[in-house]
Symmetry: C2
Subunit: 348 residues, 2 copies
């Protein structure tokens, strides 16, 4: 993908490796390194730090901020400094899974095993409260976080080797949050992951066959059926999907067909913030503050166009642990019908 | 797939649902039902029961046993009774994810959403010790468990609607084991999951292009490279795979090309048992008894032949929790290089 330019001797600390059989890629992120012994039970990280020791309450030990907002307005601050006050701030991840770099350095081991440097950007979006979480935010506060996601998305999209931008939020230790202070993350990858590739391919095929977007079509089905809708406003709907991969999974998607999250308007942002508040708030209340992940699926960030795709967020509560069956078959087992889950969430 | 015969009014308690976009299937298993409220934190199951309350030490509350072994020999017992003594026993799962049935009852909701009954068999393979786990077993004891897997595999293969048989073992609550007493599970599905389908397709393509099996080829590469081999004997090798999906992942595979696990010979079973003991024992020692899952990948159980496939077991320690990035991209992040993991495990 790129000419190999002058490269430092130092080993690049993170690699992407290609699985020949599964035909997908994994990240080997030794930059987040632990010694093998540290995988032992007692060494595993606890994440309930007090405010005084919280890395996100004490930004001076972090990488220098990239972007800050306060009450809906962008905060101006000198490069290399930390703004005095902010409500949402973005810093580079101190233990990144992908790392900025000039070369992809693709090569092959043993004649068959492909690898390349895991070149990219890994950022953390921190909100100022140590404990108060998104589910407890006002619509305006959530809107600010969405605007920060969008700003960073637009900026990262312009960078080299950015073909996909992953925006996600982990809440609770069971959902893999290694720091309890509420925060989201943004990771760019030089390639489009196989899962999105497949979704793009399937969306394209559906579009060509049926003359419409598969998500728009599914949204219409939901509008007729009603039973899986948790919440809706003018521009967004929150549903428990028909083929729910986990109990209480929710999809937040725009009613209008639109492939690119970053093209969201001011007006849409407000409705999206409200949809998020409803989804997370009902989960918080209904399941008593469960751990969850949410993540963005949007068309890739490269130059190619994907008019047939439809962006959306997935909210995935951590109500069970995928075990041998799910891992071995990639078939999820959900223990509640999405119709029942939606009904329960509507009542909260 | 089958004519819809006379069907009872009672709702079939488990469904397979097709994800239009991801093009894979999920199980909606309401037979394992919980009320929505029960997903709340405080309601989640604890699994450290004493022997007196352990469901697998007290088989009278279980479904009636199907097969039992004692010290390597099959135990004869009357149907509907529980044998007096046994070292490995198989019972139907009391809370099955799939359920025996006469009809698949495939249909479509809203014109696009496909579903069918989750018809199948869900069995539990229990070893007699309440605490002693496979990693602590002798090679002969592990061999017995493998033989029981094989016996049930062969029996289930003959049943209707069995197109795939999933054999797996969950160890530790973090790995999704809901009962602490060591046990494995067997689940049959009427369809071949997308993950295996893709692996079959890719194996076939590789075979057609290169005139050999992709796994055989990878095994040769490992034999030359040596650095990812944890253990080997005459017929099996245990490696940390090149594109490791998790820290300390191991693949146990036969050196000889062979698509079907169930065709394993007496002699091979011994070597496989030794490979298992080495893999699990080194993990137990090296990571201080971590939680893990292991599962079988073998050619489907239906009538079609898959000469290009190569069966193997995957051992996946639970050393981290897949979070927003992994869930959103299906790209795993592993925090140790497989070469380092293998080196560490070899030293144990």
């Amino acid at each position: 993908m790129t000419k190999q330019t002058k490269q430092k001797k130092k080993r690049f600390p993170s690699e992407l490796r290609y699985d020949l059989v599964g035909q997908d890629w994994v990240v080997i992120a030794t930059g987040r390194a632990k010694r093998p012994e540290m995988f032992k039970k007692e060494e595993r990280q606890k994440n309930a730090l007090p405010k005084s020791k919280c890395p996100f309450c004490n930004l001076k030990d972090q990488e220098k901020p990239i972007l800050a907002y306060e009450h809906g307005e962008r905060v101006k601050f000198k490069k290399g400094s930390i703004p005095k006050s902010w409500t949402t701030i973005v810093v580079p991840n101190k233990f990144p899974a992908v790392i900025p770099g000039d070369v992809l350095n693709e090569h092959t081991e043993g004649g068959i095993h492909k690898k390349m440097n895991a070149v990219g950007f890994h950022e953390v979006v921190i909100t100022s409260h140590h404990k108060r979480q998104l589910a407890q935010f006002s619509v305006d506060e959530i809107k600010e976080v969405i605007e920060v996601y969008r700003q960073r998305y637009l900026a990262l999209k312009r960078e080299r080797f950015v073909n996909h931008i992953s925006v996600f939020h982990n809440h609770g230790a069971e959902a893999g949050a290694s720091v309890a202070h509420p925060h989201s993350q943004i990771i760019t990858t030089p390639l489009i992951d196989v899962d999105l590739k497949r979704a793009l391919e399937n969306s394209k095929n559906f579009f060509e066959k049926n003359g419409k977007c598969v998500y728009c079509h599914m949204n219409e089905v939901e509008q007729r059926a009603k039973k899986r809708i948790v919440f809706e406003n003018d521009q967004f709907q929150v549903i428990c999907p028909f083929a729910s991969k986990a109990a209480f999974e929710m999809i937040i998607s725009p009613k209008k067909h639109t492939p690119y999250f970053e093209e969201i308007t001011q007006w849409e942002k407000m409705d999206l913030a409200q949809a998020f508040k409803q989804a997370l708030g009902r989960l918080y209340k209904g399941l008593d503050d469960p751990a969850y992940n949410f993540y963005l699926h949007t068309a890739p960030a490269g130059r190619e166009k994907y008019p047939y795709y439809h962006w959306h967020w997935t909210v995935l509560p951590k109500t069970s642990i995928p075990a041998g069956f799910e891992l071995g078959t990639q078939m999820e087992i959900s223990t509640i019908e999405p119709e029942k889950a939606a009904e329960y969430l509507r009542k909260q």
